[in-house]
C-alpha cells in the first residue's frame, strides 16, 4: 500500500511525509499526473493559499487527473485540502473542485479572538468514523487557519470546533475525509489519526 501526497508547490507536505514514514507507510510525492496511478491512497496537504495551489496544479497538469482519482481512492484533505473540495471561497475568487456548494468564509471580524486561529483546540466528534477510532471526543488537535466552513450537510459533518464561533472541523463522504486541523502537527492524537487513515477501507 502506497500513499501519495499531492505537491502543489507551497505546503508542508514533508511534515506529513515524515509522520507517515514514522508510522511505517510507503509514500510518494505526487508532482506529475503519471504518479497518481502508482498510489492507493491520497493526501492533499494544507498550507498556502487556495488560488496559488489551484493554479500550480493546473500548471503541472495535475488538476483534472486528480479530480478523477479523488472520486476513486481513499482521500484525506488537510486544511486547504478540505477547502479545495468546495466551489467557492472568500479567499479571492478561486474555484476549488466544487464537489460541495457551501462557502468557505473568513472568521467574522467582530469576534474577540485572534486570527489566524492558531493552536490546540477541541474536536467535538459528532459521528463515529473509522478515522476517529480510539480517539476520544474533545481531543485537542492543532489548528492554523483564517478561513472556515460554517455550514454543511449534517450527515457529512463529523466534528465541530469552537473559536469565537462554531465551525465544521471535519467532513466525510464515502472515500473522502477532510479536516480543518493538522494531524501532522497534533502529536500522539495526530499519529493515531494517520494510523487510522492507513488502515481505512472505505
Amino acid at each position: 500500500m502506497k500513499v501519495g501526497i499531492i505537491d502543489y508547490g507551497a505546503s508542508n507536505l514533508y511534515s506529513i511525509d515524515r509522520s507517515l514514514r514514522y508510522l511505517g507507510a510507503n509514500t510518494l510525492i505526487i508532482d506529475e499526473p503519471s504518479k497518481l496511478k502508482e498510489v492507493d491512497k491520497l493526501i492533499f496537504p494544507g498550507q498556502g493559499s487556495l488560488g496559488s495551489a489551484m493554479s500550480h496544479l493546473k500548471k503541472i497538469e495535475l488538476f483534472e487527473d486528480l479530480r478523477i482519482h479523488l472520486k476513486e481512492k481513499p482521500f484525506l484533505g488537510i486544511c486547504l485540502g478540505l477547502q479545495v473540495l468546495f466551489s467557492k471561497s472568500e479567499e479571492g475568487d478561486t474555484q476549488g473542485y466544487g464537489f460541495y456548494k457551501n462557502e468557505i468564509s473568513m472568521f467574522p471580524p467582530d469576534l474577540p479572538i485572534k486570527v489566524p486561529h492558531m493552536g490546540w483546540n477541541k474536536v467535538f466528534i459528532k459521528q463515529d468514523h473509522d478515522l476517529f477510532t480510539n480517539i476520544e471526543n474533545d481531543t485537542r488537535f492543532y489548528f492554523v487557519h483564517s478561513y472556515l466552513l460554517k455550514d454543511f450537510d449534517e450527515e457529512k459533518s463529523f466534528s465541530t470546533t469552537h473559536h469565537g464561533i462554531e465551525f465544521i472541523s471535519s467532513i466525510g463522504d464515502e472515500n473522502i475525509f477532510a479536516t480543518q486541523f493538522h494531524p501532522e502537527k497534533s502529536g500522539e492524537a495526530g499519529l493515531k489519526f494517520f494510523d487510522n487513515f492507513l488502515k481505512w477501507n472505505p
Partner: protein, 252 residues
C-alpha cells in the same frame, strides 16, 4: 471553550547540540536535541522553539540536520530562529521540518523581509521575535541578541511587523530575562490589547504562578521559557495543572 494557551519550551542549539550557558563564554552541553525534544513532547509541550545561538555558516548545516532529526521524531509545531536573514534561510528551514521561523535582527535591518516572507510562506509561519528593554516610561527594541539599541519603541515596532504580515509576536523582556521574578505583564498587556495576532510572552518566568500571571495579567496567548524547564525546576505538566486550576484552557 476556545483555543488552549500554549506552553513552549525554548532550546538553545549550537553545532547540533542543545547547550545552556549564562553568557557566551560559559556554554555547556545540555544534551541531544532529539532526546530533549522527545522529553518535552512527553511532558506535554504544545510547541518547541529552537534558537540557533551560533548561526555561523559552518554550523548552519548542523542546525538544518538537527531540525530534520527532531521533525522526524516529534510531531508538534517547531519554531526555529537565529540568524534568519533571507527568504532562502526560511525556505531551507521549512524544508527540513520547521513549521515557523522566528526573525529578529534581520527584520529591523529590513522590515520588508517580514512582508515578503509572509507573502511567500504564509503569515502562519513567520514569527517576529522582539527583544525589549525599558528606559524610563518607554520600551525600546534591541537587536543582535540584545546588544544594540534601536530607535524603535516596542509597541510601534510591533504594529509595523503586524502590518507587514507577521503571524505571531515573541516578546522578550530583557529587563526580566533570567531574573525569575515574573514576566513584564504591564508591557505585554499594553501590547496585547491592540494586537490582532497571537502574542508569546518571554523573559522572567520563575514559577507556576508567574506562568499563570503571564496569561491572566499579561494577556499573552502563549508562554515561553527556557531555563526553568531545562533545570527541571518545574515541569510543563505542573504548569498546565496550575493554569487549568485557574480555569485557563490548556491541552492536558
Amino acid at each position: 471553550m476556545t483555543v488552549a494557551v500554549r506552553i513552549i519550551p525554548c532550546l538553545d542549539i549550537r553545532a547540533g547540540r542543545v547547550v545552556k550557558g549564562v553568557n557566551f563564554e560559559n556554554i555547556i552541553d545540555a544534551g541531544d536535541p532529539v532526546e530533549t525534544a522527545e522529553r518535552y513532547n512527553a511532558e506535554g509541550a504544545d510547541e518547541l522553539c529552537f534558537l540557533d545561538i551560533d548561526a555561523s555558516y559552518e554550523n548552519r548545516s548542523a542546525t538544518l540536520s538537527t531540525v530534520e532529526a527532531v521533525a522526524s521524531q516529534v510531531f508538534i509545531p517547531l519554531t526555529v530562529g537565529g540568524g534568519v536573514s533571507k527568504l532562502q534561510d526560511i525556505e531551507r528551514l521549512l524544508e527540513k521540518g520547521a513549521d515557523k521561523v522566528s526573525i529578529n535582527t534581520s527584520a529591523i535591518l529590513d522590515p520588508s523581509l517580514v512582508g515578503n516572507a509572509a507573502k511567500k510562506f504564509g503569515s502562519q509561519c513567520i514569527v517576529v521575535a522582539v527583544d525589549s528593554k525599558r528606559e524610563g516610561e518607554k520600551s525600546y527594541v534591541y537587536t543582535h541578541g540584545g546588544k544594540n539599541k534601536t530607535a524603535f519603541e516596542t509597541s510601534a515596532w510591533i504594529k509595523i511587523v503586524e502590518g507587514e504580515g507577521a503571524g505571531e509576536i515573541l516578546l522578550t523582556s530583557m529587563d526580566r530575562d533570567g531574573t525569575k521574578i515574573g514576566f513584564d505583564n504591564e508591557l505585554t498587556s499594553s501590547i496585547a490589547k491592540d494586537l490582532s495576532i497571537p502574542l508569546i510572552t518571554s523573559g522572567g518566568a520563575g514559577s507556576i504562578d508567574h506562568m499563570i500571571e503571564g496569561i491572566t495579567d499579561g494577556k499573552a496567548d502563549a508562554v515561553l521559557a527556557a531555563s526553568i524547564f531545562h533545570q527541571k525546576e518545574i515541569t510543563i505538566a505542573a504548569v498546565k495543572d496550575g493554569l487549568a486550576s485557574k480555569g485557563i484552557e490548556v491541552r492536558l
